[in-house]
Symmetry: C2
Subunit: 203 residues, 2 copies
């Protein structure tokens, strides 16, 4: 069989580009793709399940894991730590599962320094007008926050060239199909199949 190791898919993109929706739909559609579960020090909200929505851990444990290299990346929001536990990701990859990390640009670049063989995907809105429209229509953000998101997006765009692929999200179903094509194509990359090629040659 071809490449048996799972792919690490790192998905970034501006707020409002729809990366969450695309990743959620991908995981529903494909039984070989799994979302990475983040660890956090914040308290669980009503209905949140440990090991499903997040791994809820203490601040002491979180900082200890950072210290010992157990977090692939982490960030602090509103005084709480959020991060990606390395062990869980490594176990899934070794088991042949494709793992999706939905993280912002700085975290993605941190992960890339450890996993250059990962697949780095930047979700793009069709235009900045459309991004503004999507952010405004959510109705949850003040005009100031919308402007702040747009200026963050402009900064994030300056990092696109560090990603392997752009994923245009003009339509969720189309974007998911493109993402599936990226997964299937990446499994065929020569450098991921050196062992398999050797097996064929020696058969």
């Amino acid at each position: 069989m071809q490449n048996k190791r799972g792919l690490l898919l790192v998905v970034s993109g501006p707020s409002g580009a729809g990366k969450g929706t695309v990743c959620k739909r991908l995981v529903e559609k494909r039984s070989d793709v799994f979302l990475s579960i983040s660890a956090t020090t914040r308290a669980p909200r009503a209905g949140e399940v440990d090991g499903k929505h997040y791994y809820f851990i203490s601040e002491e444990e979180f900082t200890e894991r950072i210290r010992t290299g157990g977090m692939l990346e982490h960030a602090v929001f509103c005084g709480n730590y959020y991060g990606t536990p390395k062990r869980a990701v490594d176990d899934m990859l070794a088991a042949g599962k494709n793992v999706v990390l939905e993280i912002e640009v700085q975290g993605a670049m941190k992960v890339r320094s450890h996993y250059p063989e990962g697949v780095y995907i930047f979700v793009l809105p069709p235009s900045m007008q459309e991004l503004r429209k999507r952010l405004t229509e959510r109705g949850t953000e003040t005009p100031e926050v919308v402007e702040e998101r747009l200026s963050t997006a402009a900064w994030e765009f300056t990092h696109i060239q560090k990603y392997n692929y752009i994923l245009l999200n003009d339509d969720v179903e189309k974007a998911v199909c493109r993402l599936e094509a990226i997964i299937d194509a990446e499994h065929c990359r020569t450098e991921r199949n050196l062992k398999f090629i050797e097996e064929v040659c020696q058969s």
Copy 2:
């Protein structure tokens, strides 16, 4: 719209791996993919149409085209020239058509020196036993020719790492699906979309 330029898909692989069948099926299935038509100096056979099966040209014209850089690659078989006309390929790529060149390893490496942005795909049989079986079951080759093909295959395998992808042909329909995924994914590659990214940023 994303990357508007067509992709140059260069497909190689040992005799008996099934690259011809896979490419033919791909072109039937996808309206955006076209087979490149070779030029040759051999006489047309009954039913062969100029500009469809081959471009039939004189030896004088063929060698003149080689001299002026009009052939992407060429080879001589049984005293006749065969080659890929550069102009036809460039016109199709510029018109946004994906072009398939089904050529052997040496020709592919020659093309790669001119088109590093091409997508280089090596078709693999599931095993060498299966390759031997397919070559034998054709019934058109003598045992000596089968052995010769297998030893050529062993040489071709030493060049696989110069290809971007391997395409396992365990089943024609599955192989065609993987090839379609490669095409769709390559159109999403960041370096093919720099102009599109700039358009989105400035919109």
